[in-house]
């Protein structure tokens, strides 16, 4: 193929791979899947017994609970004067958590603020639709922000 003239941000080189056989085998069309590092990480996680969250949660728990939910429950209802910051994927930036983009709040104790979603210092936050490099950990910043709930 011809050399690419156009350059994208953060993409100084364009790597071209022919992966027809692999596509047929895996039915994955995302280019990153065929990156060597991705495959290595996948192998590593599989070796550790990691499975998608949906598979991890059993149908019935020992305490007879019906299951574990993650993320938001019900319709989002923001309250501009709510006491709880509402953390969303878009707030997770390269530089950490940034509420400047969507500074939404929810009412304390509302259905958008279940206990299990309150983040605490030391939590590791994963998004359910993410890309490498932007998952985040919660450090001591919560001391200056009274409370924060997280969307999945």
């Amino acid at each position: 193929m011809k050399e690419m003239k156009a350059q994208l941000p953060d993409a100084p080189r364009l790597e071209v791979k022919l992966v027809q056989r692999e596509i047929r085998e895996n039915n994955r069309w995302d280019a990153g899947y065929y990156d060597h590092a991705f495959r290595e990480n996948e192998k590593l996680l599989t070796g550790l017994g990691a499975v998608p969250l949906g598979q991890f949660i059993p149908d019935e728990l020992p305490d007879a609970s019906k299951g574990i939910t993650y993320g938001q429950v019900g319709e989002r209802h923001f309250s501009p004067r709510g006491a709880v910051r509402y953390l969303q994927v878009i707030n997770i930036r390269d530089t950490g958590i940034d509420f400047a983009v969507k500074p939404d709040r929810v009412s304390e104790g509302s259905h958008n603020d279940p206990d299990r979603s309150r983040v605490r210092a030391g939590d590791i936050l994963f998004t359910n639709n993410a890309f490498r490099g932007t998952d985040t950990t919660v450090s001591a910043w919560s001391a200056s922000i009274p409370s924060t709930s997280a969307a999945s």
């Binding site: 193929m1 011809k2 690419m4 003239k5 156009a6 350059q7 994208l8 941000p9 953060d10 993409a11 364009l14 071209v16 022919l18 027809q20 056989r21 596509i23 047929r24 039915n27 994955r28 069309w29 995302d30 280019a31 990153g32 899947y33 949906g54 939910t69 993650y70 993320g71 938001q72 429950v73 319709e75 989002r76 969303q88 994927v89 878009i90 997770i92 983009v101 359910n128 639709n129 993410a130 890309f131 490099g133 932007t134 969307a151 999945s152």
Partner: protein, 692 residues
Amino acid sequence: MDVAAPLSKTRHKTGRHAAESRVIDLLALTAVDGLGDEGVAQVLYQVRRCNSTLEDFYQSDVQRLQTHYGLRRAAAECVCQQASRLRADAVDRLERARSVGVLALAPGDAGYPAGLEEFYDGQLPLLSARGNIELLEGPTVAVLSSTGTSSQSLTNALAFASRLAEAGQTLVTGAENPTYNLVGLAGKRAGANLIVVLHQGLLTHGNPDREPVPLARHSDREFDPQRTLLLSPFRLEGRWQKGNGPRRDRLVVALAKTVVAMEVKPGGVVESLCREAIARKRRVFVCQPLETSGVNLANEALIDHGAFPLVPDPVGSNSDLVLKPPTSLESVAETDDLERRRELGQFFTPPLVARFMWDMLEIIHDKRFPKGTRVIDPACGDGVILRAAIDRARLPAGSLFGVDIDDTLVSLWRQDKLLHGARLYRTNGLVDNPSIGIVEGAFDVVAGNPPFSGKGLKEFLKLPEDSLSRPRAQNLDLFGETTMHEEAVPRHPPLPEHQRTVLDAVARALSRYACWRLGLDAEEEEENLAASESAPGDLFAGLNFSGERRVQSGDYERMAQLVADWPPDRLLDTSRPDVRDTLRRLASTAIEVFFTERFLRLAKPGGLIAVIVPESILASDRFGPLRKWLSCQMDLLAVVSLPHKVFTGVGANAKTSILFAQRLLKPRPVGWDEAVDFNNSPTFRGGTWSGI
């Protein structure tokens, strides 16, 4: 009343008698030989301008009538010599008019329509009216077209008028040309208010109880004096004559606060009236020319002149633009906020990425695209990918098509000099519209960045909910007792009829897509309910199936067939569980999934596709069946992973890729790839694969 008394004797009368004398004077004026309707308007103008009265007019001598009121000598002599006869005749006509409920409305009268002055340079016509004159005070819309309009345009006019009537607008129309006739019929069908301007006198109209709209007469409609106002700018017994049509049209436009023009012939009355209406700051909407009309129209010129473009179709989808508040269509800057764009799932493509897409397309094509290459971006946003087609791929604007549902973009497109000549339409990019040439399989290149996780499709949820909010026939058991039912509580107010019709048409169009019925079962739906609100790119979007049976994946084909077979002239019956399930399923399918299929469908067999998609389309297990289906319809040529910062500047954090593909000349059977030995190093060059 002494009808033989000189007209001037009415001077000292007061109250009811004075008013009646004035009406008689007016009617007498319309019977003056050689004066004509325009002459009457001139006299009334002069009376008002000089703060005078009709009594002064009738007391004037021949010379004054000529010099001051502009009458010809014969007319002036008639006034002076036959005033008593004129008055006696006027009294007779007044009696006849009153017997059928006709009123005379003179400029300055309390009921005379406001806002006519600017269309008549002050020389306002004497009007006769029958029906509800209060209709003049509400929101009024005229839908009109030049004579000789195409049948397709007539269909579209009926659709627009129907949606506007259903939305509670008062339609202003005529009665005797095909477009007016259909507009009148639309108003009658919808039970809407109708102002009908006649092209002859009200007493010439015939039986006063006869329905004025000819097409409505055929369907046994009757004249409804509460919902109809007949108006005529002509003398009571005036018959149709040449020149009446343009005067009727002028009154139609002058009475309308909003004008919708369908097909406008250059140099004609309708074009002239539209230009006047634009100049006078009336709201004027003009349909973009039909692809198939082949007729020289003034529509584009009017749009360039300041009219707002409308996309015509047989459903009247763009009627929502006419119904919007005037200010909402004026400024992009004020409404171009991030939150609104997020609602629409709209994140504009950086120009660098757009140019890269065209570079890649040329590399795949292995040569420059010829000038006649038909290109479409079915979710074109500000047009950045089409601009790149012009400045990077050197394609002429005339072969570029762009569609977007966001009306605030229209003024942006019109300001863009590079896009001048491109065919840009504010309409739903997921739905075909043959009127404007946007149909499946018609484009050499389909390139774009469709919306991700927009909420547009959730509108479908209003359709099934709407049936809950409508009154239902009571179910009676054998003993006549009313059966108790626990009804779900609707989350929305009842859907207005005009919105319901448009949504119904979109639902039918989308039910023909394959993506929503591809091996996706209901268990997945429930599993994903919780995550759907917060997860961009997820397939499912917060449905509530509680209380209703679970849909099995095998039902979807049957559902699609049900909708396909539904009679086109009847709305889908949303009280039926299978129809409700279909609508819910459509609503739960992410908009980017529909658009991915749409890109494929728009391409000609052999046509190229370049589409920016979220990672979920390419990687998610949930979309595995979609990818399998796509691979039977197209050759996947390349996937270029975009850095995550590409859209962060516009508020989106989604991981995206550009998918390049070529639509197959003929779809492959399922399982085609199992027979292919991919180890033989197939290559792709010049638009074709070798080695497969």
